[in-house]
């Protein structure tokens, strides 16, 4: 037991001390935060760049006093002639010239001139206001009271609430789906990444020929488990550091960008914006995220990542022991990762759309697919008994694959220059002692 700890310690320290580990550990959250920050900055920037003054030359005379200034647009009615106005905006920033022709009611066409391409939001706002005015005129002509129309235009708002044993809780399908997808991607990539690291480690020891020295001191099983656990702990360390760093940086970044605006204020500002076309307003996302149980997700993620990792890395270790170089691994790693790939692909369609259906249920029970399938389901809420059963099966699956892998591993690490085939692996598995 003591020797396993020594091996774990070496595997862990030799990787954590590497420059590449530190680099990745610190760069990934910074990168994520940077993306996040840039997104917010761009949003703020575009809000600012929406500010514009629009000179209106209304040749129809229908719009006098009917265009309202908004947060971003100031309308200035002018009566001067077109060519003068044109000259006035040439080269000017954030100045636009709106020319409404006499026959606007027939053509529904206006000209918007500016020295630089007019912002889409601005265009939308202008056309929206023009449409509103034209509609009112049309209503009037048809003899319909505008208030009647507004009264008969129904508007439905869905307030999704989930019934849970603790009572009702607000749920946000979009946020949950987003989180489920992210988890599925992260687990898929990480299982691959760390499983391959185990495989590389085994090949390295085999190629270095240090293997014989070590297994004259410890049992092959101890070496294999030590390596698997050591590298797994490296993965967990990395995740925990990522979570802590991201949370800290995220907090910092939010402060820096928002100054002392609160989230509610931001949300409020955005709701006031007349151009309702802004996709999933920032405040809404934050609110939706608040409804998700992050604690459960993080714990579930760490448990399922580690369980899935143990299961798969044992298989990767067996593959590493059977080959002489990394180039030969392809034929063995592909079938191993197939179930993983399967669950990963399904997670985008079936699992997310029907997280409690029979396929989702079975995929989240089978140990080979449960690390991805169950994680995708967790944000939607999974009954406790299913969680317990699925995790127990995962643990059992891990014991089984480790046992199989260890039997191949102990023979494989001493075999050199022999092209391993599946037949050969089965033979190794059957060797006694």
């Amino acid at each position: 037991m003591n020797k396993i700890l020594l091996i774990i310690r070496r595997e862990y320290l030799s990787r954590v001390k590497k420059k590449s580990f530190l680099l990745i550990t610190f760069l990934v959250p910074i990168f994520l935060i940077a993306v996040y920050a840039i997104a917010i900055l761009l949003a703020v920037k575009s809000f600012e760049s929406n500010q514009a003054t629009v000179q209106v030359i209304d040749q129809s005379g229908l719009f006098e006093g009917k265009l309202h200034d908004t947060e971003t647009i100031t309308f200035v009615e002018t009566s001067g002639n077109v060519s003068d106005a044109r000259a006035g905006i040439r080269g000017a920033e954030k100045k636009l010239l709106l020319i409404i022709p006499e026959n606007i009611t027939e053509t529904s066409r206006v000209e918007l001139l500016s020295s630089e391409m007019a912002n889409v939001g601005t265009q939308k706002t202008i056309s929206g206001q023009l449409e509103g005015v034209l509609r009112d005129i049309a209503f009037e002509k048809a003899g319909i009271d505008r208030r009647t129309v507004e009264a008969i235009r129904p508007s439905v708002t869905i307030e999704a609430r989930e019934l849970t044993p603790e009572g009702e809780k607000q749920s946000s399908a979009e946020a949950t789906v987003g989180i489920a997808m992210t988890l599925s991607i992260v687990v898929y990539i990480c299982l691959f990444l760390y499983g391959t690291q185990v495989m590389r480690g085994v090949i390295e020891e085999k190629n270095n020929r240090i293997i014989e020295v070590i297994i004259s001191s410890v049992k092959p099983f101890q070496l294999m488990m030590g390596k698997i656990i050591g590298i797994g702990l490296v993965g967990l360390t990395q995740f925990i550091l990522w979570i802590i760093l991201s949370a800290t940086l995220m907090g910092g970044a939010r402060m820096a960008i928002m100054d002392d605006m609160t989230i509610e204020q931001v949300a409020a500002t955005q709701e006031q914006m007349p151009s309702g076309g802004k996709p999933a307003a920032y405040g809404d996302v934050m609110q939706a995220l608040n409804t998700v149980n992050f604690q459960e997700i993080i714990i579930g993620f760490l448990l399922y990542f580690f369980g899935g990792y143990l299961l798969y890395s044992a298989l990767f270790a067996a593959v590493g022991s059977a080959v002489d170089s990394e180039t030969e691994t392809q034929q063995f790693t592909f079938p191993i990762t197939l179930p993983l790939l399967f669950a990963y692909i399904l997670s985008f369609g079936v699992l997310v759309n029907d997280p409690n259906g029979p396929l989702s249920f079975w995929l989240s029970m089978i140990p080979l697919t449960s690390p991805i399938a169950m994680l995708v389901r967790i944000p939607f809420g999974v009954p406790t008994w299913q969680l317990v059963l699925s995790f127990a099966l995962l643990a059992g699956g891990f014991v089984l694959t480790t046992w199989i892998a260890a039997r191949i591993y102990r023979i494989g690490i001493l075999m050199y220059g022999k092209k391993a085939s599946y037949k050969e692996l089965i033979k190794w598995f059957r060797y006694k002692g």
């Binding site: 270095n208 020929r209 240090i210 293997i211 014989e212 020295v213 001493l414």
Partner: protein, 311 residues
């Protein structure tokens, strides 16, 4: 020290060890000899508990070989290798700790060895920064740092330049004088012949012979002598019932004969005959080398294999 009883090891399609038994005395230097592929490494792996025999047992100091003996054995495999990217001092510590040493103890011993072998400055270096010969030295230290009672060296001198080979040889002999039992495994029989007290010869997974080197050589003595005398004397020819001459060579003023003494006669009888005839210069018994014995033994059984198995 080590008692090996009826070891059989079968691999998928060949028998690696066929009922091997031998005894290795405490404090001796033991030669495990045989051509490549004879089964030496298979036997070593069993002693190191890397693999288990299909049948048969190994006893160490009267006890069935088990995990508790691991720390008492030091093993230098034929294929040398260490972690390329790990610092040497740290790596040595790790290997010593795996053999059961406490860290403090390991550090002290390693420092001691590094001083002795003049490699103090290597502590923070990486293996990949060292030359092949230096790597071998490091590996040797790794083998003996935990003060094993039994040191198993598989092809120990391959890869060393003559100077370093000699240093290592001296260190091994010193360890032996301090009580360690040494097993040399090699196919280059002449390289360890003069070092070994006892040997086992294996070929094609079978034991050919084993025992004390002296006793083996005595058994294989052929009563052949080399006689050198001054050529100005009357040429010597064979005498029935006393000796026959199997080769004759004259270099400048000396003649060298190889003679075989007839059964029942001794070298003294030959001398009594020769002394009045010639001025003797040198007389020496020609003792067969282990290699000769090996070839002889193998040829008796299967003449065709003798040449190809000879290195």
């Amino acid at each position: 020290m080590l008692e090996i009883r009826n070891i059989v090891k079968q691999y998928a399609n060949h028998l690696a060890l066929d009922n091997i038994s031998t005894h290795i005395a405490k404090g001796s230097i033991f030669g495990l000899l045989g051509p490549n592929g004879a089964g030496k490494t298979s036997l070593i792996r069993i002693i190191n508990q890397i693999t288990a025999p299909d049948s048969g047992e190994v006893y160490m100091d009267g006890e069935r070989l088990g995990p508790k003996h691991i720390g008492r054995i030091g093993y230098l495999p034929e294929e040398r290798g260490l972690y390329k990217k790990m610092e040497i001092g740290e790596q040595m510590c790790y290997l010593a700790q795996l053999k059961g040493l406490r860290r403090q103890e390991a550090v002290e011993r390693i420092k001691h060895w590094f001083e002795k072998m003049e490699m103090q400055s290597w502590w923070n270096k990486k293996i990949e920064d060292l030359s092949k010969g230096m790597q071998q030295k490091v590996q040797f230290v790794a083998t003996v740092v935990h003060q094993p009672d039994l040191i198993i060296l598989d092809e120990p001198f391959s890869g060393f330049d003559p100077v370093n080979a000699n240093i290592i040889k001296e260190e091994i002999l010193a360890l032996n004088r301090n009580g360690a039992t040494i097993i040399f495994s090699t196919h280059r029989m002449e390289s360890v012949e003069e070092l070994c007290d006892s040997i086992i010869l294996i070929n094609k997974s079978k034991k050919i012979l084993d025992g004390k080197v002296k006793a083996i050589k005595d058994t294989y003595r052929t009563n052949t002598y080399r006689v050198e005398y001054f050529s100005r004397d009357k040429p010597v020819t064979g005498v029935d019932d006393l000796f026959s001459v199997s080769s004759r060579e004259t270099v400048e003023d000396r003649t060298v004969l190889t003679i075989n003494i007839a059964g029942g006669r001794t070298i003294n009888d030959v001398l009594t005959y020769l002394i009045p005839l010639v001025q003797l210069h040198e007389l020496k018994e020609i003792v067969p080398s282990i290699h000769d014995i090996f070839v002889d033994k193998v040829t008796q059984k299967k003449p065709s294999t003798a040449i190809e198995t000879n290195q």
